[in-house]
């Protein structure tokens, strides 16, 4: 039996979430992390779209409430990506590298004057 469209899309969404999480964890470069965040976000947005589709009624193609939530979340995530990219550019401009690894562990030798 073929799975229906919503199940298929839901599985795709889950795959996107998994890919996004994986990228977020393993890639050390911030730009890749930002891209992974977007993939993760798109997976979650797709889950929301599937929920809207499943809740369709009264002659609509989908439940309009999750669609409204979705468009808001997309705007917020877009703003987040823009802020992250701008900060990254500034970091590169200021330091010449883009690593966000933490500084050397605290509690070492006393610094000089």
């Amino acid at each position: 039996m073929m799975p229906d469209t919503t199940t298929l899309l839901g599985l795709c969404a889950a795959a996107l979430v998994g890919l996004g999480l994986y990228g977020l964890i393993v890639h050390p470069q911030p730009l890749r992390k930002i891209l992974a965040f977007n993939i993760l976000g798109n997976g979650i947005f797709m889950i929301c779209a599937v929920i809207a589709r499943r809740g369709a009624g009264a002659g609509f193609g989908g439940d309009p409430v999750p669609q409204a939530l979705l468009i808001t979340a997309i705007v917020v995530a877009f703003a987040a990506s823009a802020l992250a990219v701008a900060t990254l550019l500034r970091l590169h401009g200021e330091t010449g590298d883009t690593s966000i690894a933490p500084e050397a562990p605290a509690g070492g030798k006393t610094g000089g004057h």
Binding site: C48, V76, A80, A84, A101, A106, G107, G111
Partner: protein, 586 residues
Amino acid sequence: MTAGLQDITTPGGLLLVLAVLLPVIGLLAGLVLGGRHARSAALVTIAAGLAVALAVADAVLVSGGTLVYLMGGWAPPLGVLLRADGLSAAMMLAAAVVVAGIAVYAGRDFGTARGEPESRRSLAFWLLLLAVWSGLNLVFVTRDLFTGYVALEMLTFAAVPLVCLDGKGETIRAALRYLLFALAGSMLYLLGVFLLYGMYGTVDMALLAERAGPDVTTIAAIALLTLGLAAKTALFPLHLWLPPAHSGAPPAASAILSGLVVKGSWFLVVRIWLDVFPGVVTVTSAELLAAFGAAAILAGNLVALRQQRLKLLVAYSTVAQIGYLFVMFPLAAGLTAAGLDDAPARSAGLLQAVSHALAKAAMFMAAGLIYKSVGHDRIAELAGSARAMPLTLLTFALAGIALMGLPPGGAYAAKKLFFDSTAATGLGWLEVVLNAGAFLTAGYTVLVLAHALRPAGALLKLESRPSRVGELSALALALASLLLGCAAADMIPGASLAGAFTPAGILSALLILAGGVAIAGAFGLQLPWAGRGGGPAAALVALRRLTVAVGVLVVRADGALRQWPVATTTLLLAALAFAAVIAAGT
């Protein structure tokens, strides 16, 4: 709950809209007026916002009502409802007081004098301060999880640039790390919200509380919401971004970040665990949440003792204090499970949060004044600073005493409420951790003060005199935190200070201070009394070697946990653990 009755805009409901929108209006006005006048716009807005917060507190806390506002007259599930109960009103008032204190303090650092060119740094500070405030107020009054998401993102987007106001490479790095980790948390939270909508067709808290049952999707959603928020709150071991971000920001910005911003995401955890799903979460899962808090208290305080920089010490103190905010959950769950009112847990959590907001803002302000006047914040080289700037060090000491939970502080009242209820809920282990936390907090406070009180060879030469207004505003916040217990004694049943000033009460307070001296001697990085006299006994040296080894071990472990892959993996594993524990209990 009768959904129909409460879904009416009450008289005074407009105050809630004002609390959220006034800072935005001030922000826009400041943007138009430009750098020279942004500060005036902010100060006018803060005065107005303080009045609004007082009016809300009067209507809710004094008269004992709730304020409700229906946006556009639409009731949930379609509409968005704002409501202020006692918790919201108290947090709004605390936020307004802290914002006002910070604004007075920041006047000199971020003011633009006549003839001075405008700077983007000071314009950004005032606008972001207002943006943080608006986001916080929205978190406090919102009654739906999705608006909570938007409010938290507003809060994060305003907080991240505050970290790197100075524009130094290291602070931009800290800001980016903070933003990326917070975004990971946001996405988990958002997924939880969408899953709940898919199950119940609403994101309104009251409707969800009526409809939610202990099924797999709901449990998964609770775990995602909780861990997403924990990442944004920097609950140990998800604190990788907090120490560099909070210690690298300018002091006024650190006070906002440490005092206020972390309380936003914590507040939503309270809503979710106590108001939305009290029937779904189990006592065991709440104890797991408190176990993270207990680890935060122990590890955060120990690492604070091993810092050489004052601002990093204060930042790690925040890591520990965030732990205190999470010990209320098993108490609430235990009381609910026993069929009792969870009011003591709410009051304890609230007092802890407000007390920390005031005290930590004061502590960062004092640390900032020390940095600016002495020219550095290396703890071991602070000798003579107490004599050169006594008021600042007094503020630091008072803030430390408030954080330790000595009477009559708000944290003392919180602990008393907690201890009075632990008998009914069997949370003895948390009681032990809380007491240990008080000793450790006393330890780093004593350590800093002992260094500062040490006489310098010559009179310490200050680079600049600390600003008197700055000193006084920091002192006012520290005193407010210390006197919070007195206010609580009148308003909250069970929070009386009766036992505090009996001989036994005073003895236990002195015991905590004496324990602090011992802890400072055992774990402190550089001891102010080292290298004097004939040297301590061999047994003490051996003991010190052992305790230092423990301290170094904890610092190493903390460093490992703050690696990005470790922290993000922990985030996911912790979400799984929560889901498993809740599912096992139902």
